[in-house]
């Protein structure tokens, strides 16, 4: 008979409850406070779904194989039993076999006294944990694990998201004032600063790269880099990136105020930028694609999609494709990507001290990126005849268009004459390109 012991309650523990609360808080912030609702509602809901035990939504099948031949001396677990990572499955006369992940035993394929060959399947395990696929290949068997595996781990959804972002991006302000590209480049300092801090905290090079890239403030870039270099921390890096993007209005103002004087914040910039010709907007994505990918080939999936999306928008003859990418297609990709990211946060892997550390390092990465943009703008003012308001440097952190809006609001607060939005959009979109290049460099070196 189906009773409480067969229901999810039997496996429920405080960690699941805490994660469900976190999911509910994200949904609350999105609905009640309007904080990035398109992202936080599906992420929050994904977290809730994956932390309901036995739902199977994020399950993977792992066939555990004998690393050496031997005779089974002892069986360490029973079918249906839950286990933590490194739990004993069985003892062979040639050594012990332990689980590489947490999960539960579906079936045991050996008995005591049996002789097993090298590579023979010992047990079929069910887990929600990401593994090193070269050593422990898993097969997704749940709805969300399939979306996550084929969408995120196969690196399909993040580049497609970049395709849509390209169709939504206007490079006009950046083309009108190419100096702002330097501010977007300077903001990538945050990526490398957090990279070093992460190494100092004991993370490996691939993990440190995935944490550092949070400072690029581009969700798809962070997910893309982490899915290749350190898939086991993808939940933490993705949630850090999207949360900090939602918190840009809280993070940027104190940094800008700390690094600029009142007079600098009052620097007036003409509200109108020069009009950019259509042909310039068509040439830019083509030239950027060729130059960047020739120098950093591993940035091709992100840069190529970003620039192709933009070309489809600007060329004027593919309006239907561009419109689809700006509306229905971006929504579909957003739903799949964010739901999968939420589902990558089961309590067993997310509630670790390292997650808290990643969240702290993420905010450092974000803050130092903004600071570097402001400082370079101040430095450039030493040489420029027509000064730039250093606040626009903070928009180099990307997080398009939120950080540019924050700069605009701060500019208006200082002086009603100052309209900085279009000026801030330059470093803003340059930051997105810079982050994609930085991610490509990490992948090129460390994959």
């Amino acid at each position: 008979m189906f009773g409480l012991l067969e229901s999810g309650f039997a496996q429920f523990y405080w960690g699941h409850a805490l994660m469900i609360v976190i999911g509910l808080v994200l949904v609350y912030l999105a609905i009640a406070k309007k904080m990035e609702p398109l992202l936080l509602v599906p992420i929050g809901f994904g977290i809730i779904l994956v932390n309901l035990p036995l739902s199977g939504m994020m399950d993977y099948e792992l066939m555990l194989r004998a690393p050496t031949a031997g005779v089974v001396m002892e069986i360490g677990m029973n079918e249906g039993e839950s286990f933590k990572s490194e739990a004993l499955v069985c003892k062979l006369d040639s050594g012990e076999i332990r689980t590489p992940v947490f999960g539960r035993v579906d079936t045991l394929r050996v008995t005591k006294g049996e002789t097993v060959k090298k590579g023979q399947v010992i047990a079929r395990l069910i887990t929600m944990q990401q593994t090193n696929q070269a050593v422990y290949p898993t097969q997704p068997i749940g709805l969300l694990s399939r979306v996550f595996h084929y969408g995120v781990m196969w690196q399909i959804l993040p580049p497609l998201m970049f395709l849509c972002l390209g169709a939504l991006t206007d490079f006009g302000p950046m083309i009108a004032n190419p100096k702002t590209l330097l501010l977007g480049a300077a903001a990538q300092f945050g990526v490398y600063f957090a990279f070093f801090l992460s190494l100092a905290c004991g993370f490996t090079l691939p993990e440190a790269s995935s944490i550092g890239i949070i400072g690029g403030a581009e969700g798809p870039t962070t997910i893309y880099v982490t899915s290749i270099l350190a898939p086991h921390i993808i939940g933490a890096t993705a949630v850090a990136c999207y949360s900090y993007m939602a918190m840009v209005p809280l993070i940027l103002p104190p940094i800008i105020k700390l690094l600029t004087t009142k007079n600098e914040r009052l620097i007036y910039m003409k509200p109108k930028l020069r009009k950019v010709a259509k042909i310039e907007k068509i040439i830019f994505p083509l030239v950027a694609t060729i130059f960047v990918i020739l120098f950093v080939p591993s940035s091709a999936p992100l840069m190529g999609c970003f620039m192709m999306g933009n070309l489809l928008k600007e060329c004027g003859v593919t309006e239907r494709l561009s419109n689809t990418m700006q509306t229905a297609f971006v929504d579909i990709i957003t739903i799949l990507l964010t739901l999968a990211i939420g589902a990558s946060m089961p309590a067993e892997t997310f509630l670790q001290p390292t997650t808290l550390l990643i969240l702290i390092l993420g905010v450092v990465s974000f803050a130092s990126a903004a600071a570097a943009g402001v400082l370079l703008a101040k430095f450039m003012n030493l040489f420029l005849k027509e000064k730039i308001n250093p606040m626009i440097g903070a928009a180099g952190v990307s997080a398009v268009p939120m950080s540019a809006r924050v700069v605009q609001a701060m500019g208006q607060k200082e002086s009603k004459k100052n309209y900085l939005l279009m000026h801030a959009m330059g470093p803003n979109v340059a930051g997105a390109i810079g982050a994609a290049i930085a991610g490509g460099v990490f992948i090129g070196i460390l994959r």
Partner: protein, 48 residues
Amino acid sequence: MMIDWSFAMKIAAGGFGLVFMLLTLLAVVIWLSKEVIERLFTHGRAPH
């Protein structure tokens, strides 16, 4: 676990340098294409 700090330094310096160089290059290319377009198409005025 031992960290190869000199390798990490190379990744960071090389990466940051490359990002900076590429975006500077793009800035120059944008400026150049504006100049060329103005001269070629409109004798001093950008086409709209």
